[in-house]
């Protein structure tokens, strides 16, 4: 368990305030655009398409006009105790000791999809097809993220290249330490209502370390022991109850 604490390095995490999330989808689009994610002609095929950050839509189950819709953006949870890592036979996915981010090396991946089976959050996607950037759209591909090939698994990296970008900038300015918010993933930057807070969970000065102490903070499927570094916040009890598989009467 000591390994998970990762007390020396950074432990990047995210808090998503579901009361602030309006379901606009910008995080998904910013992510796709930042990370050279390919687009299928039929994106409605959710078993074949690729999205590093998917949005789930849930309702409180009440009848009209008491119905309420809530959206849950789901990036990779970057678990402190990741179920995907030990199952990889090719050592293609690891937990980075410096950042706590779960890496995925596409050139190393053999496409067995054990990690996908192991991940309880469906955060990973498999390239069933060659990446599709047809007719000129390969011109917007960013060299900061390597495009994937058919037959490998990919997933959210917390925009790791943005960490490298921020570090290079800091180095250019003669600094080694990053300021808060100097490195944020594309989805955090894009969120128009600032529903997502990003930072170092090991740094008590970062806003996020305070936010996760809130009584409204929770994680998805917390009782599996995966220790996700992506937290959610909501004042709605019905929503919190949805975050894990509780027996009747068990929640609160």
């Amino acid at each position: 368990m000591k390994k998970e604490e990762n007390s020396k390095g950074n432990r990047y995490g995210m808090v998503i305030d579901l009361d602030k999330c309006t379901g606009c989808g910008l995080c998904t689009i910013a992510c796709a655009s930042e990370n050279n994610i390919s687009v299928l002609y039929d994106e409605s095929d959710k078993t074949r398409n690729i999205a590093w950050l998917q949005i789930s839509m849930v309702t409180n189950g009440k009848e009209f006009p008491e119905t309420e819709v809530v959206y849950i953006p789901r990036p990779c949870m970057q678990c402190d105790n990741p179920p995907c890592v030990p199952v990889c036979p090719a050592t293609a996915t690891r937990k980075d000791p410096n950042t706590g981010i779960i890496s995925q090396i596409y050139t190393r991946c053999i496409g067995c999809r054990y990690c996908m089976a192991a991940c309880p959050y469906h955060a990973r996607a498999f390239n069933w097809f060659d990446p599709l950037f047809p007719e000129g759209m390969d011109r917007y591909l960013s060299p900061e993220v390597s495009p994937r090939m058919r037959g490998v698994v990919e997933k959210c990296t917390f925009c790791h290249h943005r960490l490298m970008r921020a570090k290079s900038k800091a180095y250019a300015e003669g600094r080694r330490d990053l300021k808060e918010n100097e490195y944020i993933p594309a989805c955090v930057e894009a969120c128009p209502t600032k529903a997502i807070t990003f930072g170092d969970l090991n740094n008590s000065e970062h806003t996020i370390s305070q936010l996760i102490k809130s009584p409204h903070a929770f994680r998805l499927l917390e009782r599996l022991g995966t220790k996700p570094k992506v937290y959610y916040m909501s004042t709605k009890n019905w929503l919190k109850r949805m975050a894990d598989n509780y027996l009747t009467g068990e929640f609160k």
């Binding site: 606009c24 689009i29 655009s33 687009v39 009209f64 600032k194």
Partner: protein
């Protein structure tokens, strides 16, 4: 020595040993491993210098500041500009995916094209720009030679105040055609309200940033309403942690649990089309409980109390009518909202520090109902929220320098005396500037088309206008259609010639006072990348066209190119603000504005005939009476009584008496019969699905749920109770049939949908564009059977009735 089997084996063994002692196998394994990673068809993005170009997104009139990240000469990512006054970092999904409109070769015209097959056969031949411009010039010159310049028409989707729109309008005027049509939008209705109640000819503005209570009558504030980037940034401000102490409360009126309704503090769901009654019910409570602003009502309003005209005739005031007709009990019957809730919301609205009542529908892409918008706006007046901080604002225009007057020759003068084909601005539709469905009717109602040549600019009416099938019929009759669209959209597929524009990131273009923004702001975009194809800026095309036509037309276009035309207007800004600015400053920043608002005195700001805020609109009175006069010979017309009421029925106004000059509730009869078509068909809009003239980019498809689109099937939202009446289950296939046609859809059961209503999203069902869009889902416009909104004449698109047939 014999090379026998034994020795051969020795040779092989030696060879094997030698090979193992050489680097060959190890090196080969390593190289092959790398070789397996090199798939020629997996793109390797080219590296280069990273840079950011700051500009403005002009995909809609919202004018969000964006910065485009570039690698070398390629644009790779669009982000919001946090220092831009309009949107402060927030942009909308379409803007974020803007690179897919730039680089997607499958949707862009790459050069001027001439149709070679029959219309719609999509057979094209590339032509030179010279040939294209010559063809059009000859055509227009021919019309002028025949003395029928009015047979040239243009449909323009550019923002009405932008330089592009001004140029196109100027071209038509100088040629001599009054038939300059604009795509309908919600701002049209707001502008009419502003004119009728405040006497000001311009869009309404709302100080949303400083309000603490929003009463939204259907505006999809979080569903892409009006100016999504700026709206989202305002919402962020409302809910920010710093704002928690005086949080902005949102009351959303919506027939469906939309994103906005779900995030609102109170959600009200009246029967669609009864929003005006709800507003007046709230007004009733405010008036009855004397919660209105006495200072404003008593000193600066006309028509609130009963009054006498100069002939001594008594007229009912707004308060009298509202108190008489719109009691919460009555309104409950009309709207289905409990009287208790109406009273509660009215009190909350009245007791808020800075409340705003906002009329609108969905994204605000289409016009609203005039009387309804007036009724909602009246709530602002009741609380004296006109031109105050956190209220509605009466803003100055952007002080752009005017161009020289248009030069008219005799042909032009003669042409301009002809009546517009859509009859907008005539005594029948006195307050409306453009009526595209009447234009359609005028063409379809004639044996031969009264339009010879049609220009289309930044518009895709074949896809976007309600009842698009009638429009398609009209297009088929027009002899020559020219599209200036950069995209292979539905309308350009019906054209005879394409003069493709640059895409938004390849050109400079301006937006003057972005929709809904609370201060005079001028936004100017910058080219981010060099034009990829042989396209031309439509502004330059218009100018060179005018020059080719020659004479007074050329005389009206003295600029060498579009940039010069913009520069001339912008020159008015250099000294207009607090500090001097230059052209370079404005192009660098991408904007010019005066942030502080001068709140004029209530005594000075209203430009109505009474110089007051008018609950009783003198302009409407003058217009209706003038219309009645125009119908009958002198002396035989009536200005009141039964004959007058019958005249009003022509205009769709069913109310009688003084009410017709005031905000009131008109029950809009649907064109479909309730027994035959028992369900209401209500198009809805999603922020993450572009439904305007620009097709939704592929990235947006990633955000659609599979209960919205699965393969090519569009899902419509139906309340489970309604669905069970028709034995429809989740995923059932069904046919929606209206008097205009039918759509094949699948059913999604949604608790948040009002019973008896079928909600169908706008934005899918394209018949053009590429494989990412074409053929996915259906387009609600195909079966909308619009009726005319009373007085404004705008098409009512939310009132179609349908029946469901289980497929």
């Amino acid at each position: 020595m014999e090379f026998n089997r034994r020795n051969f084996l020795k040779f092989v063994a030696g060879g094997l040993g030698g090979t193992l002692l050489s680097p060959l196998p190890w090196k080969l394994i390593d190289d092959i491993a790398i070789w397996t990673q090199n798939w020629a068809w997996v793109p390797v993005p080219e590296r280069g210098k990273f840079s950011y170009i700051k500009t403005v997104c002009t995909l809609c009139p919202g004018a969000c500041g964006i910065q485009v990240r570039k690698v070398g000469s390629r644009a790779v990512k669009i982000e919001g500009r946090s220092e831009y006054p309009v949107n402060q970092g927030a942009i909308c999904p379409l803007g974020m995916a803007g690179l897919q409109t730039l680089y997607n070769e499958g949707i862009r015209w790459k050069a001027p094209m001439k149709r070679v097959g029959p219309r719609g056969s999509e057979k094209w031949k590339e032509i030179s720009w010279d040939e294209a411009l010559d063809t059009l010039t000859t055509r227009i010159k021919g019309l002028r030679d025949k003395g029928v310049p009015e047979e040239l028409a243009a449909i323009d989707g550019n923002q009405s105040r932008s330089t592009m729109a001004l140029l196109i309008k100027r071209l038509l005027s100088s040629i001599g055609s009054p038939n300059y049509l604009r795509m309908p939008q919600e701002e049209d209705t707001h502008t009419m309200v502003n004119f009728l109640m405040q006497g000001i000819n311009g869009p309404l503005a709302f100080d949303l940033e400083n309000t603490d209570f929003i009463l939204s009558f259907g505006c999809g504030l979080l569903d892409g309403w009006g100016f999504p980037g700026s709206m989202l940034s305002v919402w962020r401000h409302w809910i920010s942690d710093e704002q928690k102490k005086h949080k902005t409360h949102v009351v959303q009126v919506d027939p469906r649990a939309s994103n906005t309704a779900s995030k609102a503090d109170i959600w009200l769901a009246p029967f669609p089309g009864t929003e005006a009654a709800l507003a007046l019910g709230i007004a009733h409570v405010i008036i009855k409980e004397k919660l209105y602003s006495k200072e404003f009502i008593e000193n600066h309003c006309f028509g609130f109390y009963d009054w006498f005209d100069e002939k001594g005739v008594e007229h009912k005031g707004f308060s009298g009518i509202v108190l008489g007709k719109y009691s919460p009990a009555n309104v409950e019957i009309i709207t289905g909202i409990k009287r208790r809730v109406i009273i509660e919301v009215a009190r909350k609205f009245a007791s808020a520090h800075a409340p705003i009542a906002l009329a609108g529908r969905g994204k605000g892409t289409f016009p609203g109902s005039l009387y309804e918008f007036m009724a909602v706006y009246a709530l602002n007046a009741l609380k004296g929220r006109i031109n105050t901080k956190g209220g509605t604002l009466i803003t100055d225009d952007v002080p752009l320098a005017p161009w020289a007057e248009v030069e008219y020759d005799s042909v032009a003068n003669n042409g301009l005396t002809k009546e517009r084909l859509d009859r907008a601005g005539t005594s029948q539709y006195p307050f409306t500037r453009s009526l595209i469905h009447k234009f359609t009717e005028a063409i379809n109602g004639n044996q031969s088309s009264p339009v010879d040549t049609l220009l289309l600019c930044s518009a895709n009416p074949v896809y976007t206008i309600p009842d698009n099938q009638s429009f398609i019929q009209a297009l088929a009759k027009i002899p020559f259609i020219v599209s200036l669209s950069p995209f292979m959209d539905e309308t350009s597929m019906m054209a005879d010639m394409i003069l493709p524009d640059h895409s938004h990131l390849e050109k400079m273009i301006d937006i003057v006072r972005p929709t809904g923004i609370q201060y005079p702001l001028y936004a100017l975009s910058q080219p981010v990348v060099k034009p990829l194809y042989s396209t031309r800026h439509s502004g330059d095309v218009i100018i060179s066209l005018a020059k080719r036509i020659g004479g007074s037309v050329a005389g009206s276009f003295q600029w060498a190119n579009f940039e010069e035309a913009v520069k001339e207007r912008v020159s008015g800004l250099y000294d207009a603000g607090k500090s001097k600015v230059s052209w370079e400053d404005i192009t660098k920043n991408g904007y010019w504005y005066t942030p502080s608002h001068s709140f004029g005195e209530w005594t000075d700001i209203f430009k109505t005939p009474s110089r007051k805020f008018e609950f009783f609109s003198t302009e409407i009175e003058l217009a209706l009476k003038a219309y009645s006069k125009g119908l009958r010979p002198v002396g035989a017309y009536a200005l009141e009584g039964k004959s007058f009421d019958d005249t009003l029925l022509d205009l769709g106004i069913r109310s009688k008496g003084d009410e017709v000059y005031m905000p009131h509730y008109e029950e809009l009869k649907s064109s479909g019969d309730k027994n035959q078509y028992p369900l209401l068909f209500l198009p809805i809009e999603f922020i993450n699905l572009a439904s305007g003239w620009i097709g939704s980019p592929p990235f947006l498809n990633k955000t659609l749920f599979d209960h919205q689109l699965t393969k090519d099937d569009l899902f419509v939202e139906v309340n489970p109770k309604t669905a069970s009446q028709y034995r429809l289950a989740e995923g059932s296939r069904a046919i929606l049939q209206s008097s205009k046609g039918e759509l094949s859809v699948r059913i999604h059961l949604f608790d948040g949908a009002m019973p008896g209503v079928i909600f169908v999203p706008f934005g899918l069902g394209h018949t053009a564009y590429d494989k990412y869009l074409k053929g996915k889902g259906v387009n609600p416009n195909e079966i909308i059977d619009p009726i005319e909104d009373p007085l404004s004449g705008q098409p009512v698109w939310w009132n179609t009735r349908v029946k469901v047939i289980k497929a």
